[in-house]
């Protein structure tokens, strides 16, 4: 057992050393001799981003409530720290006890976005753990992963021993139970493969990539994905907590020592989404909607606020105002924080007069800007993507916002959506100019400042388990053309145009729908020093392009190719509960501009009712 010593001169010569020392309020310390299992949870991005993530905090506190487990944390060191650590041969360590990662029993990664993949490899390597799962020996940690990216883990399949698909709370508890059973039988005789096979066969949603064989056709598409043995499932179905009110939820949340990106109490109102926007992976893989009781939520919110000292409570869910207890919860949160400095933040709201009133009372400080996500510029295209927002809804929302004294609005759009043509891009510009015009129509005494309308355009990225999983992404030069086209149309000086890295969207599209052959590309990129790909100024697209072609792989095969419905997709052996037939049907409807109702109006039989709960049975 060893403790890593980090000399003062290193900590004092890197940016924000507070990220590397631990000692946070509500962080957990245990005697390592008192526990059977030492687990390290890793977030493959900076401390500030990782400490903003609710899911990892839940698992951290959940595991530490057990007497037999000590769970610690590690984050990706920023490049300055990374190079200092490498120079001095300092292994990547956990913040609690400064133990190198390779001394843990279980090392888990949370994968929130594909662009963190190269960081995962760096963290394994710096932690002294063989990067490839096949190279790990008896006494190396079991390396696991979970999070949204687990739904298509194929590009990272070679690096993980087991992947947790779906919601991890129960899985991780059972996995830890099983692991304890195995080590109690004797650590020296610990049978890695036996343990992984039993986990995969007995715990829902656990996928061990190396137990499956992938065969390819001559045209590079996949012929088949089959389990080598009958003991593990042919199709791995995600795990989920069907009654979220019964799920573990910590109130004594860890509080970072330096400001995190989201530094507040996050309150998860429900899991899932009823809307079915056709580009949105989260909306499908988290089905069905399962709500939590507003009384319970209020209790959790007030207790966590006391236990953390945070002055902000953020409501967290995919479409906050769809929560059926929204009015009760929002009003009571506001009443209960009245007279204190605590403010409530409400993302993803649909603005009507009630929510405008709530917003007014919720934020204690200066009126914050509002954000809306129409995603597409015309009704026609919004029907294609099933984004249920009309021009009229937007107009009304703007009127409410402006007459309430706000002057800044941010609008999110996507470029490159299926069936999009230049008229749809014109539509974005028309919408934005209409909003500017509507600002000047409100009574003069209400508008003290000039309007500031931001149009933010992201690139469409086709994602697995969505009705658009077969679609092609626009070629890079077409994406550039559309960006420029839109920029030239947005003439008003009150409109600001922002867009996101097109190259990184292409690479994200490759990884999102990638197969196992990409593992070697990610490995080589890591060896060449690629890291922090999610950071635009760090991302090196040219390196990935070159490595792809050196490995005989083609970016456009993954990003720009339209798949046929009968093609075997790299994630076909995984199930999120939504059937492929439903997704095909949604795709066909999209191309004929037909919308689908949300779950509460009409159930469209997506398949998620098989989980036996939630909105499907309301």
């Amino acid at each position: 057992m060893s403790t890593v010593y980090i000399p003062r001169h290193i900590l004092l010569s890197v940016e924000k050393p507070a990220r590397y020392v631990g000692g946070e309020w509500n962080s957990v310390l245990k005697d390592v001799h008192d526990v059977y299992i030492r687990t390290a949870l890793c977030f493959p991005d900076t401390y500030e981003i990782g400490m903003s993530h609710l899911g990892m905090k839940i698992l951290y506190h959940m595991l530490n409530e057990r007497d037999d487990v000590f769970c610690e944390r590690a984050y990706m060191p920023w490049t300055d720290m990374m190079s200092r650590m490498k120079e001095d041969n300092i292994p990547l360590y956990t913040l609690e006890t400064k133990t190198p990662l390779n001394e843990f029993d279980i090392v888990g990664f949370t994968l929130q976005y594909e662009m963190c993949y190269s960081n995962v490899l760096h963290m394994l390597d710096m932690g002294g753990i063989p990067v490839y799962a096949k190279d790990r020996k008896q006494d190396d940690p079991i390396v696991i992963a979970g999070g949204p990216c687990a739904f298509n883990i194929e590009p990272m399949a070679d690096f993980f021993d087991a992947v947790f698909i779906g919601e991890s709370e129960d899985q991780l508890s059972k996995f830890s139970d099983l692991y304890r059973e195995y080590i109690l039988r004797g650590k020296d005789t610990f049978d890695r493969d036996g343990f992984l096979a039993e986990a995969a066969s007995s715990i829902q949603g656990i996928y061990v990539p190396r137990f499956y064989e992938v065969k390819y056709n001559d045209d590079e598409t996949i012929r088949s994905i089959r389990a080598y043995s009958q003991d593990v499932p042919d199709v791995i179905t995600k795990a989920l907590i069907i009654e979220p009110d019964k799920a573990y939820f910590p109130v004594n949340l860890i509080v970072p020592n330096t400001e995190a990106v989201h530094d507040r109490v996050s309150l998860e109102l429900f899991r899932g989404c009823t809307r079915g926007c056709r580009f949105c992976q989260a909306g499908f893989v988290t089905r069905p909607v399962r709500e939590r009781d507003p009384g319970l939520l209020l209790d959790i919110a007030l207790k966590s606020q006391k236990a953390t000292g945070y002055e902000e409570i953020g409501l967290l869910s995919l479409s906050t105002s769809d929560y059926s207890g929204f009015k009760e919860l929002a009003s009571s949160l506001i009443e209960n924080t009245d007279g204190t400095n605590t403010s409530i933040s409400l993302p993803s709201l649909r603005l009507d007069s009630f929510t405008a009133d709530i917003l007014e009372k919720a934020s204690k400080s200066r009126k914050s800007g509002l954000t809306f996500a129409p995603e597409a510029g015309t009704q026609k295209l919004r029907n294609v993507i099933n984004k249920n927002i009309s021009d009229n809804d937007l107009k009304e929302a703007m009127e409410i916002a402006f007459s309430g004294g706000r002057n800044t609005v941010k609008l999110y759009f996507m470029l490159g959506l299926p069936t999009e043509d230049d008229d749809d891009i014109d539509g974005i510009s028309i919408l934005a100019h209409d909003i500017v015009r509507s600002y000047w129509q409100i009574p003069g005494e209400t508008r003290r400042r000039k309007p500031e309308i931001t149009v933010s355009a992201a690139m469409f990225i086709p994602k697995p388990f969505t009705p658009f999983q077969w679609e092609s992404q626009d070629q890079l030069d077409e994406l550039y053309r559309k960006q420029n086209y839109l920029r030239d149309k947005l003439k008003s000086k009150y409109i600001k145009f922002q867009w996101h890295g097109s190259k990184s969207s292409v690479w994200e599209a490759v990884l999102a729908r990638g197969d196992r052959r990409l593992s070697k590309v990610i490995y080589r990129a890591f060896q060449e020093g690629c890291c922090f790909d999610a950071w635009d100024d760090k991302f090196d697209f040219e390196a990935y392009e070159r490595i792809m072609s050196e490995e005989g792989l083609d970016i456009s095969f993954y990003a720009n190719r339209k798949r046929l419905f009968d093609e075997v997709l790299p994630w076909d052996h995984i199930s999120c509960g939504v059937s492929k037939e439903f997704l095909i049907n949604e795709n066909i409807k999209a191309h004929s501009g037909v919308t689908t109702d949300e779950c509460r109006s009409i159930c469209s039989g997506c398949g998620a009712a098989a989980f036996g709960g939630g909105v499907c049975f309301e």
Binding site: G22, N257, D293, L298, G309, N336, G339, R366
Partner: protein, 242 residues
């Protein structure tokens, strides 16, 4: 319509029920361990959150972004251990000082400890304006020799300012800001520096001065343990003589 029909508890409006009397408590505190690596802004945030967690009824500023009325005597830099710094916080009513200290301690990470608390009833003025000097301990095996060499010169210059765009670089003599130097053993020096809003010598700047003239390496400077032993306020004692 919502499927929920519940009545939720409502707490009384805290601000309306506050008694009008406000009192200032001055706390002495130490900081060690991991928390010596957090920046001053993070210290402020940490104390604010600990205050909220403690349940003590503190007074906040008015305006758009209300903050607790809390004033640190002297900001503390990254990497500096603290034996006995001072912070003043304004409370509603008159909480028992010992209880207030206990509650704050129970709400703080263990690396920060409140060591003393008492009422401060001066009529006006910020504690920041009262600071005049601070005592530091430095520890490094090659330190005393370098300091003796450095202090033997007429002046002790250190380059201030950044070399970046538009930045002005100038040499400043910090010798007049050093009021006392003791050498308890070969590895340790104790020093009293000017501190506060008028003249302030930061301990890391002192170490930096050694690296320019006296052969003390930058690595040594960064590795030197720095402890701020205490802060002297006006009237605390005579420090003017060298």
């Amino acid at each position: 319509m919502s499927k929920y029909n519940i009545t939720l508890p409502v707490s009384p409006n805290l601000r309306k029920n506050e008694p009008d009397i406000t009192k200032v408590i001055r706390f002495n505190f130490s900081r060690r361990g991991a928390l010596i690596y957090i920046a001053h802004l993070d210290m402020l945030r940490l104390f604010e959150r600990a205050l909220i967690r403690s349940g003590l009824k503190f007074v906040s500023s008015q305006g758009f972004n209300p903050r607790p009325l809390m004033v640190f005597a002297l900001p503390v830099g990254i990497g500096v251990e603290v034996d006995n710094d001072l912070v003043e916080i304004t409370f509603y009513g008159g909480p028992d000082t010992e209880q207030a200290a206990d509650k704050l301690n129970a709400s703080m990470p263990p690396d920060i400890r409140i060591t003393n608390a008492h009422y401060e009833d001066r009529a006006s003025g910020s504690i920041m304006a009262m600071v005049n000097s601070a005592e530091y301990t430095f520890m490094h095996k090659d330190l005393s020799r370098s300091v003796r060499t450095a202090m033997s010169g007429e002046v002790l210059n250190v380059t201030k300012g950044s070399k970046g765009k538009g930045g002005k670089v100038k040499d400043v003599d910090i010798k007049p800001l050093i009021h006392k130097l003791d050498f308890p053993d070969d590895n340790t020096i104790k020093a009293v520096f000017s501190a506060g809003s008028k003249n302030n010598l930061r301990p890391d700047l002192f170490l930096k001065a050694l690296t320019t003239d006296s052969g003390f390496s930058l690595k040594n400077a960064l590795d030197t343990v720095i402890i701020r032993n205490r802060i002297f306020l006006e009237g605390d004692h005579q420090v003017a003589e060298k």
